[in-house]
């Protein structure tokens, strides 16, 4: 028990430290990610928390900053975003650096396909619009600010595309990339279009 305590105290020292009075209390850090996002950040459908392992650090940083800055996760219908935002609100820049370093230590293993009912052939046509930014093989493009889609949890892609389409995500005036997504996602038109394009993304290996 003492050993564990000391290890955590050392860890705390790396990311800010505590006062003498607080150090007598149960210590904590900001490494909460795997409680929701699962083993080595591979995503957890049970709480609808997506895969972090393999996500680009620049994309993760942008999203953590958007959550922290009340740009994402503020719409009343964005249930998952609302769950995430309070977590990011308390993060310091140092904590974000620490978390990104931690996430980069996890192995990337592509997610299993779970979405049913989509038509990947139709999805392929729809994806041509997405490919401009996210790449033909959906591996992303940092210079355009577009993350990889291949290998991500498909249920997460479906939720986010629905949220963009409905304006639950990307409607904040400071969400520049989100606004671009909102424009592009309108080409998918409806839930059927979303399922089709996600089925196609599932067919792309990474």
């Amino acid at each position: 028990m003492l050993k564990t305590f000391m290890a955590f105290s050392l860890c705390m020292a790396c990311i800010g430290g505590t006062s003498a009075a607080e150090s007598e209390r149960e210590p904590f850090d900001d490494r909460y990610c795997t409680t929701c996002h699962g083993t080595d950040g591979r995503g957890n459908e049970g709480v609808q928390a997506p895969r972090l392992a393999g996500m680009e650090p620049w994309y993760l940083r942008r999203q953590l900053e958007n959550f922290r800055g009340d740009i994402r996760g503020v719409h009343a219908e964005d249930r998952e975003g609302i769950a995430m935002r309070p977590m990011a609100t308390k993060l310091t820049d140092e904590s974000i650096d620490d978390i990104l370093g931690w996430i980069s230590s996890w192995d990337y293993i592509p997610a299993e396909a779970t979405v049913k009912g989509g038509d990947p052939l139709r999805g392929r046509d729809l994806y041509s619009g997405c490919a401009v930014c996210h790449g033909a093989d959906a591996t992303g493009n940092e210079s355009l600010g577009a993350p990889a889609l291949a290998g991500q949890n498909d249920w997460y892609l479906v939720t986010q595309l629905k949220n963009f389409l409905a304006g639950y995500r990307g409607a904040h005036p400071n969400d520049t990339y989100g606004a671009q997504m909102r424009t592009m996602v309108s080409t998918l038109r409806n839930e059927a279009g979303i399922l089709n394009v996600v089925s196609y993304i599932n067919s792309l290996s990474r």
Partner: protein
């Protein structure tokens, strides 16, 4: 009253009563009610020395029950607990304790005294929960009565009585009076030939009169049962004014108010003296040395000859190899942990929805409720904070801890708010019952079980329809109850048809151990 109640309607009501008896019988058949022959603890065979390593995932009540019982018969148990404390949702908060809500960490600042605690999770033990009570007896846990219903507490709804709170005793006395008068009128119409004999009809009528304290004309004209407006001891008691039925019918809170003291939460209820976690302490006195804290499981692999558990502790990955595994990790967290479970098993884990129960508590600078004749019990509000619980212990001490909000259905309503907004809402709601509430309470804490680190949910919700289990749900439930490869058991109140109770956690653990025992004998 805009509509008369007909005799036919009344007889339909009686029919519904017959239905209740049938439902109770069915409840027993489903194992919802205890059987008289139920063993309090399990009778297990001694462990086979070559096959005695047990991994227990989670130091909640079900995990500790397994550790305690299996250790008695020679198994070598290792408990991996991801948080810093044992007990899971049996969590008593005291001075200095960390409440590890993700994004809203709090330290409890209550005064450091034995009676200044808050049961943030499990808080009540029904007298019919005999398996849990048997452990309390065996582990020498002191119990005291938990006061659930108290006639001097309040109900408050802005729609009724001008928003002013009504005492439980006024609401219940008057409502019973009005209901009894209504029943008496329906039975006085000379149509009593069927289905009652004369003797039965007379008994029934006297029961109705007594139930509602009706006068000789079978009318309700108020009752001294509601207490006195003045006097009553050295002078004649003066009866209180009746609150008109038309007024009481402006609120539907009565539905909740009247059945809050039936079923599991009916008398007699108990609590552990000094906090519910004394029960956990009772177990950890025996098996506490087996617990590895801050040990987060990240893979479970069931093999032909054993089971491998990978976990992180101190930032390092460790491997625990065991012959059997009992797992009380919440289903919605288990779905994010790498495993090789069969598809239907995983489907069952994914099917369960997580509960979102929410509680808040305050330290009271003085026990202001005692000045209003309240000692223990619950006041009910129509506003989102819903309930105020007055402590069942610590009578007449200077201070006490009160529950300031309890929402067991929709905790997300509260967690959409910041800590400051949550507290402000509870103060505003509490003021409607106790006008000086805001100045009388301090040092608030909130517990949102669906936001707690390593927990992310309260009691499991198996049913999409509250009234019935579907065939598919029952199949998934039974699939999850069965062991994987005879080696891995999911346990906890989540693997019961009656989640949210400590008894269910204990019984789920006992079921799994009994199954293992039978399997090894076969």
């Amino acid at each position: 009253m805009s509509k008369q109640v007909t005799r036919r309607e009344f007889l339909n009501l009686l029919g519904a009563a017959g239905g209740t008896a049938a439902a109770l019988k069915a409840g027993s058949a489903l194992g919802l009610l205890p059987h008289t022959a139920q063993a309090a603890t399990v009778d297990l065979h001694a462990a086979n020395p070559a096959n005695r390593k047990v991994a227990i995932l989670g130091a909640g009540l079900s995990g500790l029950t397994v550790a305690y019982e299996l250790s008695k018969v020679g198994y070598e148990c290792t408990i991996l607990e991801s948080s810093h404390r044992p007990g899971g949702r049996i969590f008593t908060v005291r001075h200095g304790d960390l409440i590890d809500e993700i994004g809203n960490r709090q330290y409890c600042e209550f005064d450091d005294e034995p009676h200044m605690y808050f049961n943030a999770g499990a808080a009540r033990i029904p007298s019919t929960h005999r398996n849990l009570l048997a452990y309390c007896k065996e582990l020498k846990i002191d119990l005291e009565v938990f006061i659930n219903e108290n006639k001097t507490t309040f109900m408050q709804d802005s729609a009724v009585n001008g928003g002013k709170p009504i005492r439980n005793i006024d609401y219940t006395t008057h409502t019973r009076g009005f209901l009894a008068e209504l029943l008496a009128k329906s039975l006085s119409a000379g149509e009593m030939d069927e289905p009652f004999t004369d003797a039965e009809a007379e008994t029934l009528m006297s029961l109705i009169r007594s139930f509602g304290d009706l006068n000789e004309d079978n009318l309700y004209k108020g009752s001294l049962r509601a207490g006195y407006a003045s006097g009553g001891f050295l002078e004649h008691g003066v009866q209180k004014d009746i609150i008109a039925m038309s007024e009481l019918l402006k609120t539907q809170m009565g539905n909740q108010f009247l059945n809050a003291n039936e079923g599991d939460t009916g008398p007699m209820l108990f609590q552990a003296v000094g906090g519910m976690d004394k029960i956990i302490e009772g177990f950890t006195n025996h098996v506490g040395h087996q617990i590895h804290y801050r040990s987060m499981v990240n893979a479970v692999e069931v093999k032909d000859d054993g089971i491998d558990i990978a976990y992180y502790q101190d930032g390092t990955r460790h491997l625990l190899q065991a012959d059997f595994c009992f797992n009380c990790i919440p289903s919605h967290i288990m779905t994010g942990i790498t495993n090789n479970f069969p598809t239907q098993y995983v489907d069952a884990l994914k099917y369960i929805r997580r509960g979102t129960a929410y509680k808040a508590a305050f330290q009271a600078k003085e026990r202001f409720w005692e000045k209003e004749d309240i000692y223990g019990g619950i006041s009910w509000m129509s506003s989102p904070s819903k309930q105020i619980w007055y402590p069942s212990a610590g009578m007449h001490k200077q201070k006490g801890i009160i529950l300031g909000a309890y929402d067991y259905i929709d905790g997300e309503l509260h967690t959409a708010r910041t800590q400051e907004q949550r507290i402000e809402a509870h103060l505003t709601d509490g003021e409607k019952i106790h006008p000086n509430y805001r100045n009388q309470v301090e040092k608030p804490i909130t517990i949102a079980w669906h936001r707690m680190n390593h927990m992310l949910g309260c009691s499991a919700r198996w049913q999409r329809d509250r009234n019935a289990w579907t065939h598919e749900e029952e199949e998934l439930y039974h699939a999850l109850q069965q062991p994987v490869n005879g080696r891995h058991y999911m346990i906890g109140d989540q693997v019961s048809m009656h989640s949210a109770w400590q008894e269910s956690a204990v019984m789920s653990a006992q079921w799994a151990m009994a199954d293992l025992n039978q399997q090894l004998l076969a």
